[in-house]
Amino acid sequence: MSTRRDFIKISALGTAGVAVAGSALSLFDRSGLFAADDSTQASLKAVKRYPTYCEVCFWKCAGWTYTDAEGRIQKIIGNEDDPLCNGRLCPRGTGGIGMYYDPDRLKTPLIRVTRNGKQQFAEATWGEALDLVASRMKEIAEKYGPESMALFNHGSPGSHLGHMLKAFGSSNITAPSYAQCRGPREVGFVATFGAAVGSPEPTDIRNTKCLVLIGSHIGENMHNGQVQEMSDAIDNGAAIITVDPRFSTAASKSKYWLPIKPATDMALLLAWIHVLVYDDLYDKDYIRQYAFGFDQLKEHVKNMTPEWAYGITTIKPDVIRKTAWEMAKASPAVIVHPGRHVTWYGDDTQRSRAIAILNALLGSWGRRGGFYYKESASVPKYPYPPYPKPKWNWKDMMKDKYKFAALSVSNDFVEASTASYQGDHKIHGWLVAGTNLPLTMPGMPALKEAFDSLDFIAVVDTMPMEITGYADVILPECTYLERYDDLRKSPSREPTIALRMPAAKPKYDSKPAWWIAKKLGERLGLGEYFNYEDYSEVLDWQLKKIGTSLEEMQKKGVMNLERKYGPLYLAKGEDVKFNTNTGKIELYATDFAAEGFDPIPVYTKHEEPEKGYYRLIYGRTPPHTFSRTANNPNLTDLQKENHLWVNPKVAKLWDLRPGDKVWLKNQDDVVSEFPIKVRVTERIRWDSIYMVHGFGHSDKKLSRAYGKGASDSHLITNIKIDPLMGGTGMRSNFVTFLKEDPGKEVRS
């Protein structure tokens, strides 16, 4: 089959960059090991450190990049002043150094060419590559209007390219962090408290007396501040209640582990609400003062008893009661954690609503040991002319498909980019920066159709990830250790800013995203939006506006500011208005009711695996982030592939032994591209199998990651769309084992 845009697996033409390969290893043959004491002192003096904040995940911990006497990056250590990491990075942050040293990095701009009838990438200069991107963008703008250019982004490069795209005339910008991640949670919490949870989550875990984790696997999910605070909570003797079909690491540290039947959490949540309400355990003053719709809620959950939930969840009624009492005992210092990656079964906004309601009943929102009022630093924007007003944006594109989508839904962008799309507002060109769509977005067929239909795709990435295989132009960004980026202004208990600056010159011919955006902007005639030579000028201007300077921040890395908007917690009986229609915490969601959705969550039964099939569930492993670290030399050294967790009973049935390689076939007969090694473990239920997301890379240029383990994304073809906000539920996929290599044809 010939497609317009073949996925290019073969290596690039030309040989530039070969000389620098292998540098990851040379890092370690420093002879400092034999150094006598005084020369150690001398080399200590030559050690320099540069502030940064981590880009290996989106917690954005601030740290210091250390270079040795030769100016080589040696290690990254957390910044003590940073409230997000308290001087301790997570394994991925510590191993972030491997992103810099990875010899497989993208080294030069690459342009798709056809030679001898074969599509290949040819090395190009930045001038050639940027000229090409600019001219294709102009073509698209002339033909269909600038709005037809869209940006898929995740992480730091997004804001630079987003700025360029908005100046160009399009606000069609999207990220997987909404429809594939925390969108439903934000909608559920907005509907309840009038406020989103946001990132980092304002959960006061270190002061809590009871932490309830619904599938949220903190400890494997290494979002740093939460892991640290969960550990503090353990020290403080807090009761942890974990609801997970898998014996997660958090479950092993819990007072109660509820090994729930997957896809039935809603029933458990409703039963908990039932117990809190009918056993009179809820925070009465809080509810009376702040809540709306308690009576409707009470009526709604009348029959949703623990006994009812037992039949659905397999969690015993007395356990449901005991755990509800445990939460009530701790109230209001209790957190029913909203989770983060919540796009599970399509009713995720409603499940998040149920969680929000539980928190309301326990009075934990705005309370010590519950949810605090976060605050972020405000830094003025560097001056530039106003953006042109686009004729249409993503809201018009999907009309009123998802009433509650506050941010753009990435899947809509994909749909609007396909030839078969019937809408008025079509997308014709993509910029992709910092997101590996083939492993990130479920629904590869739609994605492939988009790749075939689009006029133009440019990808800004650091690694030859799968997404680059579909690009017309690849623009190699340098890693976060080699560049300036925007100031980090993450909300926290106190407003805080952090600086990222280069610790070394960009390796190879890679460039920072701000530079790429600026150079593209200039080619598009948008120079006035990029009124600086170096991004450090922007930062210095901003920092001076808030009373510091680039110079000072280069020494400090992090600056913590005074809170401006009141204390962390509600005062007793404090009069507050919530940002909802009723001004109250809405146990009954008036917004939902108005649009014909359930104002109070209901339990719906989800699909179940047929005989011989097992529910595919996935999650995180501490030393990796999604697909982005699967080739990182330091982190693959810790874990180089994912394993398939199989219950011993299932293993016996299928005669699977630890280490056996199997292929997986899902309900739609999609077969995993690579085999995965079996781990026989009591940590997983007999009706499910588990694997870590982010492995099974198919791009051969990833020398360490290629073919290691299997990709969950590949097997997720049954997508349960959340009708409220478009989230893509990914856990209704069922797989069976193939013990023989099914052969290439089947797998494609």
């Binding site: 693959t636 050294d637 180089k640 011993p648 026989v680």
Partner: protein
């Protein structure tokens, strides 16, 4: 079900998934050390007993092999070092607690002595031989004159060397299979047995062959007794030692151990020797080679299998 995993992907070559640090040079070295010890033991023994005439192969001819055996052994040891440029550090200190250290020193002493011993008999073997340097001749003459006194010295060193080849392993209580005090005597006896076999093989005198054959038979019986004792000891020991013994009792080393070491390396040659002693004509090379081969395989198995056994915790 119990599951024990290393989850940080520890892949230290030579250590994981199980220890496989020592390869062929170490068993070869242990075998050659034992063999040299055996030959020198009998050479010095019969010198002390004033039986040079009856036992020419034991006292003279077989010792010509020893300098070569020890040199190859030492080379194997050196070859196995991973930081070879620093090997001289071995001789900057004597560490009595370290078998590796006193083994190195014993070899340091016994190797030159073996050269002297063999050298001093060279003219007997090749009457036309003339040393180029006078000093050499003088030293060798001195050796010949003091042979008796030297014999006491060499015999003690030979015993130490023989025991050392076993203690080198048994000192490692981290490897349950090695961690038995029987290994020292066992390797000594096994070394003596290979030495006796070599002498027997080289000897042209019927009487000498008979004597060595008898001695060897005795040594094999002692060896079998010690091995039984060792296995019984393991089985009565801790879990890790029981598991160690299991390597030979159904585990991966069962066939090589029982077939090559016990049967072909001990029982069968013993039978042949008995037959020979009772008058059957059996080419002496056959039991001798079997014993040598058995001794070598024994050391390979002990080194290999021992590295698999480890503490479980």
């Amino acid at each position: 079900m119990r599951e024990e995993l290393i989850i940080s992907g520890r892949m230290n070559p030579g250590i994981d998934p199980y220890l496989s640090l020592w390869h062929w040079p170490i068993p070869v070295y242990l075998f050659l050390g034992g063999l040299a010890a055996g030959i020198l033991f009998f050479a010095s023994l019969y010198t002390i007993l004033d039986r040079e005439k009856e036992m020419p192969a034991a006292v003279k001819w077989s010792t010509f092999t020893v300098p070569a055996i020890l040199s190859i052994g030492l080379f194997a040891l050196f070859y196995d070092l991973k930081h070879q440029l620093y090997f001289w550090q071995l001789y900057t200190t004597i560490r009595l607690e370290s078998p590796m250290s006193w083994g190195a020193w014993v070899l340091m002493l016994i190797t030159p002595l073996s050269f002297l011993w063999a050298g001093s008999y060279l003219q007997e073997a090749i009457p036309s031989w003339k040393w180029k340097f006078k000093i050499v001749q003088e030293i060798l003459d001195w050796t010949a004159r003091n042979r008796k006194t030297l014999s006491y010295f060499i015999m003690s060193l030979a015993v130490i060397l023989g025991i050392y080849t076993g203690i080198l392993l048994s000192a490692f209580n981290a490897r349950p299979l090695w961690n038995t005090s029987i290994l020292g005597p066992l390797f000594l006896v096994s070394g003596l047995s290979t030495g006796a076999a070599t002498i027997m093989w080289i000897s042209k005198s019927h009487l000498e062959r008979r004597i060595m054959s008898k001695i060897d038979l005795m040594l094999i019986i002692v060896e079998l007794f010690l091995i039984t004792h060792m296995i019984m000891g393991f089985l009565a020991g801790s879990q890790v030692q029981i598991e160690a013994a299991q390597l030979f009792l159904g585990g991966p080393f069962t066939v090589s151990f029982w077939v090559f070491v016990i049967f072909l390396g001990m029982v069968f040659p013993a039978i042949l020797e008995i037959l020979e002693l009772t008058g059957f004509k059996i080419p002496v090379a056959v039991p001798a080679i079997l014993i040598l081969f058995g001794g070598l395989v024994f050391r390979f198995i002990m080194v290999e299998a021992g590295q698999i056994t480890r503490y479980l915790y």
